[in-house]
């Protein structure tokens, strides 16, 4: 992480651009990766200070009723709540009138707007990636008090379940198979099986080529066997690299379970400008108002770390 050491652009900030003779202005603009958070998170609008998801457990299995005996009863119950408290993220810049007027090469005001937008987009992406980056950290818990990836997620009516390997398991064909087998045993809060299906694989940049070998080969990868590769093309959503994942060996599978990865947009990217009367300094700010999180941990299965 870095911080802008100069909040104000003056003539001295880009002094050489005050006179002609420059061939090129370098390193000011780059291409960016396409948006990555939307491969993981579903976006919803919000009109409140915070949003609350409440997890519910339904009914369990029915009981045998011997002749003349009463039936047994069950009820649904509230389990745990997941709170999404939105926060405003903002950045501004100040440009002196003289710096704007005398810069011969760049419209600083126009460029400032573009750069602010870029900073907001990168911040948005980082917020999303940090949900995964903190996924094994017990300091960042979901509604059931467990981190995103845990071997002890709580079932509302008793018991626990895992949405990760108990020990770190490197990405491989066998590991994907084992994860998919575990996902097929996901249960609801009352212990009933649910039809959870793997949707996509999410990896750091270091695993791109490993993922390609595992998912694109029709035959068993990395072996001389002609056996079929049962996980080839198994993810309808394919695999997605997230360049902000910090653990370069961790990976996870996203499932099609509802109310999993959520992004609330309280206010989209918003920009504003003004000019200070006394100094004639130009100011430009960009903001957005959002929150990220996960309600149902069945939305994923992690490699361990």
């Amino acid at each position: 992480m870095s911080s802008n050491p100069v909040a104000i652009t003056t003539q001295g900030s880009e002094a050489r651009l005050l006179q002609e003779g420059i061939n090129a202005i370098a390193t000011a603009e780059y291409k960016d990766y396409p948006m990555e958070y939307d491969k993981i998170f579903e976006s919803e609008g919000s009109e409140k200070a915070y949003e609350l998801d409440v997890s519910i457990s339904g009914f369990g299995l029915a009981s045998e009723k011997p002749e003349g005996n009463n039936i047994s009863y069950d009820s649904e119950k509230q389990d745990f709540a997941t709170t999404y408290v939105h926060a405003v993220y903002a950045l501004g810049t100040i440009i002196t009138m003289e710096a704007q007027m005398n810069n011969l090469y760049r419209d600083l005001v126009y460029k400032a707007g573009k750069m602010l937008k870029r900073s907001l987009v990168h911040t948005d992406e980082q917020l999303a990636a940090d949900v995964i980056n903190n996924g094994y950290d017990t300091g960042f818990t979901l509604g059931d008090g467990q981190p995103l990836f845990s071997t002890a997620h709580v079932l509302g009516k008793g018991g626990t379940f895992a949405n990760r390997f108990s020990v770190f398991t490197a990405l491989s064909q066998a590991a994907v198979e084992d994860a998919l087998i575990d996902i097929e045993d996901y249960r609801d809060g009352a212990g009933l099986l649910i039809d959870a299906r793997a949707e996509s694989l999410h990896i750091p940049r270091s695993l791109r080529f490993t993922a390609d070998r595992i998912l694109a080969s029709r035959f068993e990868p990395d072996s001389g066997n002609n056996a079929i590769n049962p996980v080839a093309q198994i993810f309808p959503g394919g695999y997605h690299v997230n360049h902000r994942f910090t653990a370069q060996t961790d990976w996870f599978i996203k499932t099609d379970v509802d109310d999993g990865f959520k992004r609330f947009e309280r206010m989209g990217y918003t920009f504003d400008t003004d000019n200070d009367f006394g100094t004639s300094n130009y100011r430009h700010k960009g903001m957005f108002y959002t929150s990220y999180g996960v309600t149902d941990p069945r939305a994923c299965y992690g490699s361990g770390t």
Partner: protein, 188 residues
């Protein structure tokens, strides 16, 4: 740790921050880098119409900080100097300084001995000079983590952990160091 000196980000009384600056003379006795905290220094001349400042070597007694250097005013009489990003010693220069105790600055800690944690937030902290970059022109000044204490005697008020995304208390001695918000302590 990548220090960047002191960057003005707001005001202590909540007033809107417009980027106001004051001109100062940058004394010929020392290089000065953008982000450096400045103190009165050098030999003032009768013709000086604005304060003559120099980078703080440390916040020793009597060296009350005046403000942070935010820009070097270009010397238009010497076009070759326009590519120099810092004030070069040997000649006086003109600096733009964000001035006073009402300004909130962001600065990184050095985290060399014991990183700053929540037990000293609200107290005060000293600075260390580090080495500014003659390439980027950016200051090498940082907060001296080991000096942070729950008192009011050091050069800077330690206001809070900076809220920049991803900035958290540093857990590792010698690590990157966290960024904090500080203001000049007028009683130091």
């Amino acid at each position: 740790m990548t220090a960047f000196g002191f960057a003005p980000i707001g005001t202590t009384d909540g007033a809107d921050y417009h980027g106001k600056m004051r001109d100062v003379i940058l004394d010929d006795g020392a290089n000065a880098f953008v982000g450096d905290m400045l103190i009165l220094g050098g030999t003032a001349l009768a013709a000086d119409t604005v304060p003559r400042l120099t980078p703080a070597a440390s916040a020793a007694a009597g060296n009350t900080l005046k403000g942070a250097l935010v820009s070097i005013y270009p010397d238009f009489t010497d076009e070759g100097s326009l590519v120099t990003n810092y004030h070069v010693s040997g000649a006086d220069g003109v600096g733009k300084v964000c001035w006073g105790e009402d300004v909130i600055f962001a600065a990184r800690e050095d985290a060399l001995v014991g990183p700053i944690d929540g037990t000293v937030i609200g107290g005060s902290v000293d600075l260390i000079t580090g080495t500014g970059s003659v390439i980027t022109g950016i200051s090498g000044m940082a907060l001296d983590s080991s000096s942070a204490a729950l008192d009011k005697v050091q050069a800077l008020n330690l206001l809070q952990l900076d809220l920049q995304q991803g900035n958290v208390f540093e857990a590792t001695v010698g690590g990157t160091g966290a960024i904090f918000n500080v203001s000049i302590n007028p009683v130091a």
